[in-house]
């Protein structure tokens, strides 16, 4: 094999990944659960100052762990269901994050409901808005779907800006925090004393850590659910739709329904993050939900390795963390960020941690983004698309 050292390094890296993945799959379940628990513990210990001094010398580490890092990770997990698993290119994901955020802000300030109730309402609202967007648009494919979702993202933001009833361009202020639990005791032990004065469930203005812990909890629930779906009949149907939608339909997969489900689930995850984020930020306004955020989350999913959960989370972490890490370089930090993105796409076009299935799809040349550019009926189609109902 006459390869240059770079290509050799890349295949070597890929093979190493495969070996590690096989070894991981062959480890017994209880050992894997130990690793999962360790990861959760690590996630909970992350906001400590000793780690922060290296990870972000210029900003408050615990704050950026909540936003952007944690927020991006959860959003990327949600977008991954739509883009990575079902293969539907969604450029307006920020819309669902906005719906969740506005649900929290409006219900919290006007009706004064409890955070947890609003969380449930927000998730339901977002699932419904996912279905509302999906019902007419999921008949389109590839680029066409991407354009429509892009439009939806902008419509939500511009509508919010022009509707004075929900604050217009000023947004909404005075959003309540989640209810605090002070003097937390577990088995009679004062947790606050144990942690050296930290109140883990006291949601105030100053300390970002309690929100971060809440976010970790949300992420763990979301990851468990998404992983379950991925391994079920639903996940297999998504994979089939992503790889060849027509073939999936003639295998008996109700493609339209499963695409709607992917949209609804992705929207719910994005919305739950929106609720949590709004509950911390006190005030929100339409400019928090720019298209750039949709694009950044999509970049995180694609760079991390669409379809592979650990990869997507890593991608989101990198995309969120790099600009903060190099904040000391001021304007140059975006230059470095851009260079890293370009380098990643050159050396790892399939993403940092791609799934093996995904790599095989990319080789086949379907682009790995589902049926991009597939045939679409014109506006005057007569009686077409019976199949997708």
């Amino acid at each position: 094999m006459n390869q240059n050292p770079l290509a050799r390094f890349r295949t070597g890296l890929g093979n190493f990944g495969d070996v590690m993945h096989d070894r991981w799959l062959s480890t017994p379940g209880w050992q894997r659960w130990i690793v999962y628990l360790l990861l959760i513990v690590v996630a909970l210990l992350l906001p400590s100052d000793s780690i922060g001094s290296f990870m972000s010398p210029d900003t408050d580490w615990a704050s950026i762990l909540f936003f952007p890092i944690g927020t991006y990770v959860v959003l990327a997990i949600g977008l991954n269901v739509v883009v990575g698993q079902a293969g539907l290119l969604d450029l307006g994901f920020v819309a669902f994050y906005a719906v969740g955020g506005y649900a929290m802000a409006l219900i919290g300030t006007r009706l004064g409901w409890n955070f947890w109730v609003i969380m449930l309402v927000g998730i339901t609202l977002c699932a419904l808005s996912g279905i509302t967007l999906g019902a007419p648009t999921l008949r389109l494919r590839g680029d066409y779907l991407a354009i429509v979702t892009l439009g939806f993202g902008e419509i939500i933001r511009i509508t919010a800006r022009n509707t004075d009833e929900i604050g217009g361009p000023n947004g909404i202020r005075g959003i309540p925090h989640p209810p605090s639990i002070n003097d937390l005791h577990i088995f009679g032990v004062d947790v606050s004393n144990l942690l050296g004065g930290i109140e883990p469930l006291k949601y105030g203005v100053l300390d970002p850590k309690p929100y971060y812990y809440l976010l970790v909890g949300l992420a763990v629930i979301v990851i468990i659910l998404v992983k379950r779906w991925e391994k079920s009949r639903v996940g297999r149907a998504w994979a089939a739709i992503r790889e060849d939608e027509d073939a999936a339909e003639v295998m008996g997969v109700p493609t339209f329904r499963f695409k709607m489900l992917a949209f609804a689930i992705g929207a719910s995850i994005g919305g739950s993050m929106g609720v949590l984020w709004a509950a911390k930020s006190i005030s929100i306004n339409p400019n928090d939900f720019q298209f750039l955020l949709s694009a950044t989350i999509l970049a995180a999913v694609v760079m991390g390795g669409a379809g592979n959960l650990p990869g997507v989370m890593l991608g989101a972490f990198v995309v969120a963390w790099l600009p903060e890490r190099f904040r000391g370089l001021e304007e140059y930090r975006m230059l470095i960020f851009g260079a890293v993105l370009v380098a990643l796409m050159i050396f790892r076009p399939e993403g940092l941690l791609p799934s093996r299935q995904r790599r095989a799809e990319l080789k086949e040349g379907s682009g790995g983004m589902g049926t991009l550019g597939a045939e679409v009926p014109g506006p005057e189609a007569h009686g077409e698309e019976v199949a997708s109902k």
Binding site: R233, R236, A237, A239, A240, E243, D244, D246, A247, A248, E249, V250, M251, G252, V253, P254, T255, F256, R356, Q357, R358, R359, A360, E361, K363, E364, S366, P377, G378, E380, A381, H382, G383, E384, E385, V386, A387, S388, K389
Partner: protein, 244 residues
């Protein structure tokens, strides 16, 4: 009659692709649709399997009207398809591709898996290989085997000979004959008219969205006009471009 297509019209935008096609398939038969590029063969098949909606006409299967049934429900009703261009799932192994074929079924289908592997020993050898890394012939075998996993009453095949070496075409066609002998009705769309007419019981000749001839396959094989147009007969007039 197992499958009856009655006077269907199908449009792509404003263009009428099918201008009133009627096809009948009886139980146990192999029926073939032959014709040049753009004659409407694949569109007919896609309309039968539900990937295309029809503007008028009707399709009935097993005595029921399925014209408005979505594609995935037609699979449950008993229509299995190996789609155009094979439609293999590239990121799934051969085994997982076959299991996708049985998506609508529940319970134990190890016997059906064994039957597919027996029909296509090549697939058994490649059980754990990714679908996308297989050769064209192997992918075609996989596409047919996958369609069989749904236990269809009628198997719809869209150009199984496309892009395959002559020897492999022979092999695939003899397997189709075997599948038919085991009790599955076959509707075959082919450009390779010679092979298809040798295999089938009855045939329809399609031209620009219309059926121009229907007869027992053996008769068409000896029909001078069909020979001239599709079989490279001796008295071949100028074959219009794109009909090679």
């Amino acid at each position: 009659m197992l499958l009856e297509v009655k006077d269907i019209h199908v449009h792509y935008g404003k263009i009428e692709a099918l201008k009133g096609i009627s096809v009948e398939v009886n139980e146990g038969e192999i029926v073939t649709l032959i014709g040049a590029n753009g004659a409407g063969k694949t569109t007919t098949l896609k309309t039968i399997s539900g990937l295309r909606g029809l503007s008028s006409g009707s399709i009935s299967f097993d005595g029921k009207d399925i014209s408005k049934l979505p594609g995935h429900r037609r699979v449950v009703a008993g229509l299995g398809q190996a789609p155009e261009g094979r439609g293999i799932f590239p990121g799934m192994t051969v085994h997982d591709n076959l299991l996708m074929g049985a998506y609508t079924r529940s319970g134990d289908f190890s016997a059906d898996l064994a039957e597919v592997y027996e029909l296509f020993p090549r697939l058994a050898e490649r059980r754990v290989q990714m679908g996308g890394t297989m050769s064209g012939g192997e992918q075609q075998m996989l596409a047919i085997g996958r369609a069989l996993m749904a236990k269809p009453k009628v198997l719809l095949l869209d150009e199984p000979s496309m892009g395959l070496a002559p020897l492999l075409v022979q092999q695939i066609f003899s397997i189709i004959a075997e599948i038919n002998r085991r009790g599955t009705t076959v509707l075959l769309v082919e450009q390779n008219a010679q092979q298809a007419l040798k295999l089938a019981h009855r045939a329809y000749v399609l031209e620009t969205g219309k059926v121009v001839k229907s007869a027992p396959a053996a008769d068409l094989l000896n029909d001078p006009a069909v020979q001239a147009a599709y079989l490279g007969g001796a008295v071949a007039p100028e074959v219009p471009e794109g009909q090679a």
